[in-house]
């Protein structure tokens, strides 16, 4: 492959990344308040990165984008409800939420995994619908079971009708507890005419994200990790090699769900209030957009994709919604631009992936036919030889 071909292949494989980068950079001059961008970006990236990591393992195991990571987010939220109810504060509150959320996340993960095993080939759309379904179950738990079947201690988070959790849960008791644990602040920097506001760097949060990255690298080297890769490449071959395919797939979903649970807790601790029934609705789709913007596909995702993706996606969120109104003259355009770019990147990425998969399949089939043809010709020639001899 010569240089030009290599470059064009690089461009094509990372098409989505380049489009997003170009778009965000184009929007940058129009966006105003550019000085606040580094600080906002740091906050957004540290808030979301953990959640995006949760998508890697299922992609690795061949399950596509796990839209039902939302179930893990819901488990984390249930943990937080208990935490606020029992008034466990600060980092201890987060640990407590994680401990409560873990068994719930495992249970949800087992459920999701078994459902997804029954629809091989359609995992992504099923996981999406499963997410919606479980939102109904979650609402049942949060709006009807808390306070009646599940004990709720504090009257101030209960709805006035006597059961169910309030619409908005105030997270002041745990707000920032992870971020502020050990944080440094850079000074304000002046670049030419632009003043960059001080950037708060939450060291503990970053350390946790780095630890997760190492965990994933280690995991991929374990036997279970290798099994998942085998299942992800070809389920039939993996089965023939003696791997319990169904069990491996379920485990990948359980891990993803538990990571989503912790990720959602990290996400929510950097937000003041939690919309009790809605906080998880954007989770799966934002994480998917992030990982896909970073160049991942439905069958291949790396840590690089996660980090590039979450940074780029949120850079886009910082620049485009501020720039769009100026370009189009209407303030309301911003919101729709965000949605369009987020939905669009997922759609584009899925389309490119499916298109490439189809091409690969066709080429493989063609190669098989040629090989078969050659073998047939060779056999015929050998038979002719043998006949003559």
């Amino acid at each position: 492959m010569n240089g030009l071909q290599k470059n064009s292949r690089f461009l094509r494989d990372n098409l989505v990344v380049f489009i997003f980068l170009a778009l965000s950079l184009a929007a940058l001059p129009f966006s105003g308040q550019a000085g606040a961008i580094p600080d906002n970006l740091m906050a957004r990236v540290t808030r979301n990165a953990f959640l995006v990591f949760a998508l890697i393992i299922p992609i690795y195991a061949g399950m596509g984008i796990n839209f039902s990571m939302t179930l893990g987010a819901m488990a984390g939220q249930i943990g937080l409800i208990f935490c606020v109810d029992w008034n466990v504060v600060g980092v201890w509150g987060l640990l407590f939420s994680a401990v409560i959320g873990t068994p719930i996340a495992i249970l949800f993960g087992l459920l999701a995994g078994s459902v997804l095993n029954r629809c091989k080939g359609r995992e992504m759309v099923t996981s999406l619908i499963l997410g919606f379904f479980m939102e109904g179950v979650y609402q049942l738990i949060v709006l009807y079971m808390f306070g009646s079947v599940l004990p709720l201690r504090s009257p101030n988070i209960e709805l006035s009708r006597g059961y169910g959790v309030r619409n908005i849960l105030n997270l002041a008791t745990v707000r920032g507890s992870l971020d502020d644990l050990v944080a440094i602040k850079t000074p304000a920097i002046s670049l030419g005419g632009l003043v960059l506001s001080p950037v708060k760097i939450p060291l503990v949060t970053i350390a946790i994200i780095v630890a997760l990255a190492f965990f994933i690298v280690w995991f991929k080297k374990t036997k279970l990790g290798q099994d998942m890769r085998a299942v992800g490449n070809d389920m039939a071959v993996a089965k023939a090699a003696g791997i319990n395919v169904d069990r491996t797939r379920i485990i990948s979903i359980v891990i993803s769900t538990v990571l989503a649970c912790y990720g959602q807790i990290i996400f929510l601790q950097s937000i003041n209030n939690m919309m009790t029934t809605d906080a998880q609705s954007q989770t799966g789709f934002m994480a998917a957009a992030a990982i896909l913007v970073g160049g991942a596909t439905a069958s291949h995702a790396s840590i690089k994709n996660v980090l590039i993706g979450v940074t780029l996606l949120h850079f886009m969120f910082e620049t485009v919604p501020n720039a769009a109104p100026r370009v189009f003259g209407q303030a309301d355009v911003a919101e729709y631009f965000r949605s369009f770019l987020s939905f669009g990147v997922i759609a584009l990425s899925l389309v490119l992936h499916a298109y490439r998969e189809k091409k690969k399949e066709e080429e493989a089939r063609r190669a098989n036919r040629i090989a078969a043809g050659e073998t047939a010709a060779a056999n015929a020639a050998a038979a002719a030889e043998g006949g003559r001899a």
């Binding site: 008034n87 980092v91 401990v99 101030n156 006597g162």
Partner: protein, 158 residues
């Protein structure tokens, strides 16, 4: 190793050392996680302390004119006679340090708050005068009071 009907029941599996080790590791993990949870819950349990410097209804003691109180690692709070202040603390045994601001020795006591109790009230004048009890549970919401059971959660009329 098999039992009568050829299936692998729990008893057969328990005899397998690999299974036993796995079970032990998993049980230990569960215990560890549960332990972290319980530990967080106890250590991180937040309480709100109502610092009271008011004249009681029955006039049995006088409020303190001015004082400064510090709970746990929080900032010192100033109270004058007739006011109450809310301070949040973490943990069940915060140290209360009060400076009566009248030349006498600052008092340092350790509050012990029952785990389940969200709010307690400290009557600072009582503490100064040595009247027991100067700390008791506090119920900001009438419905949380265990003594007088509020009516069960009423379902609303259509």
């Amino acid at each position: 190793m098999s039992n009568g009907n050829g299936t692998s029941g729990l008893s057969t599996r328990l005899a397998d050392p690999v299974f036993r080790r796995r079970l032990a590791i998993r049980a230990a993990l569960v215990a560890l996680v549960a332990g972290i949870g319980a530990f967080s819950m106890v250590v991180g349990r937040g309480h709100t302390v109502v610092l009271d410097d008011m004249r009681p209804k029955d006039g049995s003691y006088e409020p303190v004119r001015m004082l400064s109180a510090k709970l746990g690692r929080g900032k010192a709070v100033e109270l004058s006679s007739g006011v109450r202040e809310l301070v949040t603390v973490t943990g069940q045994s915060p140290k209360l340090v009060v400076d009566w601001m009248d030349g006498s020795e600052p008092v340092s006591v350790e509050l012990s708050i029952p785990f389940k109790q969200d709010f307690v009230i400290v009557y600072l004048p009582k503490l100064k005068a040595g009247i027991e009890p100067w700390v008791e549970p506090f119920f900001p919401y009438a419905s949380a009071k265990p003594a007088e059971e509020a009516a069960p959660a009423a379902t609303e009329a259509p």
